[in-house]
Amino acid sequence: MTDTKTLNVGQPLERTEDLRLLRGRGRYADDLPVSPRTLNAAILRSPHAHAEIETIDITEAMSMPGVAAVITGEDVAQHSDPFLVALRQPLHQWPLAVGRVRYVGEPVAVVIADDRYLAEDAVDALQVSYKPLPSVIDPEEAASDGAPLVHEEAGTNLVSVRDFTYGDPDAAFAEADHTFKLTTQFPRHSYMPMENFVVVAEYKIEDESYDVLSNFQGPYSTHPVMSRALRVPGSRLRLRTPRDSGGSFGIKLAVFPYIVLMSVASKITGRPVRWVEDRYEHLTAANSCPNRVTTLEAAVTKDGVITALRFDQLEDYGAFLRAPMPGPLYRMQGAITGAYAIDNVAITNKIVVSNKMPAGLVRGFGGPQLYFALERMTNHIAGELGMDHLDLIRKNLIPAGSFPYKAAAGSLLDSGDYQKAIEITTGEGRLEDLIKRRDAARAQGKLYGIGYAAIVEPGMSNMGYLSTLLTAEAREKSGPKNGAISMATVNVEPMGTVSITADCMPQGQGHETILAQIVSDQLGLAPEDITVNVEHDTQKDQWSIAAGTYSCRFTPGTAVAAQMAAAQVRDKLAKIAAKNLNTPAENIEFTDGKIHAAGNPDNAISFGRVAGTAHWAPAELPDGMEAGIRETASWTPPELEAPSPGDHINTSLTYGFVFDMCGVEVDPVTAMVRIDRYVTMHDAGKLLNPLIAEGQVLGSFAQGIGTALHEEFLYDDDGNFLTGTFADYLIPTVAEVPRPEILHMASPSPFTPLGAKGMAEGCCMSTPVCIANAVSDALGVNVAQLPMSPKRLHALIDEDEPPRPSGAGQ
């Protein structure tokens, strides 16, 4: 490649996916053809938070028209093993309740019938006798002595407690001028994909294997969990994912228990089985982020320098610890000090189970939980010291020029200039405008506040971070875990056309567009010359345990593997062309579909001609070169090491920076929050496609608004689920999401060949706490719980009301 020509990477190219999606030509999992023999499943779910299943009478259901089978926990236990759990605790989970239900919505039985209508009719006819047991919903209550046990075999609901010390926090606290303490509660919520879970499973008796089509999204570390549960070698669980996805946001990892369930159902019925999750099922039982109670203490000098933090994190995973839980509690471990240079940290990580739906992946994945506590704390400290919050943030930031920066708990923050990012954000009159708006509103007696949040956004997880959960001795015994392998394959067909497959499962991100940008740059072609196929098949395509689309791994991971595979193709083609062009391979360039000598575009040969040689005339190839052109590259960055004996862990490869500031007004009567102005700055290194990056910021901002103000899964004290429809579980619509002002700067990552960082989760982490800080400023209170619903805020600002007049009611 020459320096003079414009690269496709970095250009705001329109998404190639949109042409079909906007015309209604997307092909989603449930659009794909199935065998005419396929049966349909409907699931009976538990109405109890905790109960013993005494009997399940299937007689009437089995007699109904079109019903092929009713499958219960006994059948599942006969044909499968419980899922592997990251924690060495007896928290046995099958995809159907076996003997006992532990949350409202837990699958109890499955009816397999000719169609979904008949299956639901038969579900209504199932007779289950339950013996209700005491349940426990609140995490602190669950963790206390004498609480009803969710898993009796474990003997406790507090299934893991680990203490970590980095630096000397005790000394820092002893020497501190001030110490502060704040307890915050992060809620249960999820982000709603438009398309719910889909599984089509077929048992193949001829080789005792399972063939599954599902809108699963990875991580593929879950594939061994499924194949182990199904008692087959991994190669006999063929898992195929479709091209288009109606959204995931992490959620579609949680389809995996249903993959096993429908596989068992297919084995029992001898027919392919399809299950399409409905919205009620999705809201009730699909997935939630874990809720977390954080008590955070800070040691601070009189000048506002934070010298130590002490975290007590109690994370509630619901009824089971599904793989790869407890990820959210450990994903941020290495970077727990966020954007700040704080050398001394103490952490107590506590995992509790309760009678709620099991937790799983949700965009942000541990980040929103951490930053709600940390950035509420920096705001609180500033208020207590009479300092401006922004000044306190600036005073504690990691100094510019100190990157790569080794954070106290082990993260190696790759690049950045946080001070400059804040300077740009507040510049051009933006901060002055916010202050002017606040002062004008307050002069009119309005409740107006300004909020800030500075956060570090991780990209591409170290597959070893979860093992920090184990002690160093236990890690030693179980063998090292580290790295994060990404893979891509570039193929050149006999007529010189180029295609690529990769180990990602895009859910709307625009991976097809970016992969074409990357490959076309390497080969001197146009993006439209590259055919991208993102369907994935575990029996035919490249993958390893880190495969999938989650935790911002595409840009630092798969994109790099794609570039490497394309470069391998380029090198091979250059060697072939060298002979024709009579120039060394190192001196060959690829431009506009031609392969030519550097500086001499006339000494050229067409791309297709060179590629064709490898297929049509292998005898003409340089000595020792393999015929055909198909290159698979595998990339794992050396920086992702296993946890150290002292529990230092570089949890992710890239660390972007996000700085948000906003002004909000709270209505004193309705307690509703209006976002007046919102500015968000992102440093994600080099942007591969700025248009796609903007879409990611807008999406994560909208979901951040949901977390801040609207979205929450609610249970009553008995564990009944209260938010089973979209009238109760509220998602922000376009009317609730103002357009933020998006700013970018680029500190390229030295650890990724493209210089790019993961960047899809930023505002999910920064926006909830930024708005919470603004609301705290507006109301003069410490907001300690999300979402800031009118009901919750009203309780904070509420005054005495006029008493009930005598004679009025009652």
């Binding site: 099922e281 309705t670 609207h710 009901k791």
Partner: protein
């Protein structure tokens, strides 16, 4: 989330619809826009052996002014009423309230009378009908009767529709000369069910306030302007409705809204009156 099995009939006239109703009795349900009933059927919160679809009956699809009323046929959609020429003059309360009913898309299918028949306590249309002292026209094979809004809605999701009867129209009084009308509601998001909905009318020295979303059905406060302190009346009204806590709001929050937003919406109605 699939409904249980049902038969579907689409009669060509009201008479045919009524004869189907009397033939199938309690096993039949009338459907028009389906914006409430379909969701309930899909969730299996409601069941019907027969759905009688009146949504395309020409004779029910008209809005017309008759004898001081704006009469809205049972097949008229919320969007059609909202776009009815001159609605803001004919009945300003409806023009102000209807944009709060669901969303653009649901108003294109949902009918005015369907909302009245569903009788959700937080719905805007039943609230307007009650505040305006409108009427509901019911027909059965044996005849026609007209009920006042107060007599029609008996409670939460409960009405006085008798077996074999169907709503053929709702009648909203047209605006009185010099009267002022105002509407306001508090909802979590645009288009959501109201936590509290308020409809206010000011005329001839009288203030009338309707509140939805608090009690089981729309409640009405009527108050003579010369009677003195409005705040006490609003406070009594707020308590008398005996609102309850739910996941979106507390009873106390609802009372505050009735007191504070109630005063505001009454003042707005007053300022629109002459």
């Amino acid at each position: 989330m699939k409904p249980s099995n049902f038969d579907y009939c689409r009669p060509d006239s009201v008479d045919e619809a009524l004869s189907l109703l009397s033939e199938y009795g309690d096993d039949a349900r009338i459907i028009a826009g389906g914006q409430s009933l379909m969701a309930m059927l899909n969730l299996r919160l409601a069941a019907a052996d027969v759905l009688i679809d009146i949504g395309r009956l020409q004779e029910l699809s008209e809005c017309r002014q008759v004898g001081g009323y704006l009469e809205v046929g049972a097949a008229v959609t919320q969007a059609k009423l909202l776009n009815y020429p001159g609605l803001a003059e004919i009945q300003p309360l409806l023009a102000k309230a209807l944009p709060n009913v669901g969303h653009f898309q649901t108003r294109n299918r949902g009918t005015v009378c369907g909302s009245i028949a569903h009788a959700d306590p937080s719905s805007e249309i039943p609230l307007c009908l009650a505040a305006l002292e409108g009427e509901v026209v019911l027909r059965s094979a044996s005849g026609t009767r007209t009920l006042s809004a107060a007599d029609f809605q008996t409670g939460m999701l409960a009405t006085a529709i008798a077996p074999g009867e169907m709503i053929t129209a709702a009648r909203f009084p047209v605006a009185e000369q010099g009267a002022g009308y105002a509407f306001a509601e508090v909802a979590r998001r645009r288009g959501d069910f109201a936590i509290v909905g308020l409809a206010a009318i000011a005329r001839n020295g009288t203030l009338r306030l309707g509140a939805g979303g608090v009690a089981g059905k729309p409640a009405i406060l009527e108050w003579q302007i010369e009677a003195g302190q409005l705040d006490d009346a609003l406070n009594g009204f707020a308590w008398e409705m005996e609102g309850e806590d739910d996941i979106h709001a507390t009873a106390k929050y609802r009372r505050q809204i009735v007191r504070q937003l109630g005063r505001k919406v009454l003042e707005e109605a007053k300022s629109c009156s002459s």
